[in-house]
Symmetry: C2
């Protein structure tokens, strides 16, 4: 098997920077974790909040702390640091080679879309964002790694795209169409979902939008790890 | 302008894991940093060493600590933690949006290859690896961001490829050929350089090999950030 992750990310129109933070870190016992944080409001203040949460989370993940404890710690840290006055949504998506599982941690009202055996389901159990009070608990789901397993994680900017026009992006419906069209391709899927949102927002996103796609695909006899990142500069 | 980073990475043949660690982290004041660490020896013990150094480095970079101080801190940390008994090579490659510069930090006997105005140069001033004694200093080079600027960072496994057969990969010569063949393309370049090494090693790398390519390219009217990672699973 092989794991492929792809993310696409854009800031709200006419803001200097996205208030979403996406970070990737290697797990010391093997595997990769992605942390996606959406800070309250947008622009610089949101970025400052999401940076605090993401920074704490990747630092603990790099130390080998388990994912659920990382979310609890990041929440308490934001609460302590900002006195419960600001909130953020948090997702952690991990491929854990020690337990051979996909771990999905969620403190985000936006659902996570999961594909198993070509079945699409929404993980949307009720959760609170991090930082607003003490002792916030994450939703944690864990699935054995197997071919065809996929997960799509996003910030709420994706599903609220088009809201100014009274529309909304039906993310799950988009994923149904993508799955019917062929094998999962994380890079194509992430770009497609973001582009659908940009179209509804007429190229001027009403909120920060980030989407992360993970797919477990068949092994192709290639032992090489690849990483690619692209960042527009002002 | 836009910045594109690509990395390709493989472990020594017949070891359970690569002793090299590559991490990426967002800079809180804008930009991206990559940390590449090669731990002494190979396999699990090397991985444990490179993880310590990389973890400390990304944690400090995420806090907004300047790159040179990060390298000094990571070195002292490894020295304190392991009593000067182990060493690692360290590279930090940053696109810093605050200073609008490319920052190259090097504690690695392997050179960094820099391209400016289509001129190729090797950055190979003498440096020590981190962790072996107190107060080790990094080599630091900084260049204003401009189109056509590129840097290639690698662990020594790349340049020692083929050594069992009495050969060595001439990385700089490879880069000359790539640059003559056309516009810099980080993904193609990273794959090409790794594949050249694998060919010399007959598909069985004699050491962990990692190569990271950064290019500053013309802006293409696309505001989206992309990230892609691929990891083979056992």
């Amino acid at each position: 098997m092989q794991a492929q992750f792809a993310a696409a990310k854009i800031g709200k129109y006419a803001t200097s920077e996205s208030g979403d933070t996406l970070e990737m870190v290697e797990r010391p016992s093997g595997g990769l974790s992605f942390v996606l944080v959406d800070g309250q409001r947008s622009g610089k203040s949101a970025k400052a909040i999401s940076n605090i949460v993401a920074r704490k989370a990747i630092s603990l993940l790099a130390d080998g702390v388990r994912d659920g404890a990382v979310a609890r710690a990041a929440s308490d840290y934001l609460y302590t640091y900002r006195g419960g006055k600001v909130m953020a949504t948090l997702n952690i998506l991990s491929v854990d080679l020690l337990s051979q599982t996909l771990v999905i941690v969620r403190n985000n009202h936006a659902p996570v879309i999961l594909i198993r055996d070509k079945e699409i389901q929404e993980i949307d159990d009720p959760v609170e964002p991090v930082g607003i009070r003490k002792a916030i608990r994450p939703s944690i789901h864990e699935y054995p790694l197997c071919e065809g397993l996929a997960a799509i994680v996003y910030t709420d900017g994706l599903m609220y795209a088009g809201e100014r026009k009274g529309q909304r992006l039906d993310v799950t419906q988009c994923v149904h169409e993508l799955l019917e069209a062929g094998q999962p391709n994380p890079q194509e899927w992430a770009s497609y979902l973001l582009n659908q949102a940009l179209e509804l927002d007429e190229g001027r996103p009403g909120d920060d939008i980030s989407v992360l796609v993970l797919c477990i695909l068949p092994y192709d006899e290639n032992e090489v790890r690849y990483l690619y990142a692209r960042m527009p500069l002002k």
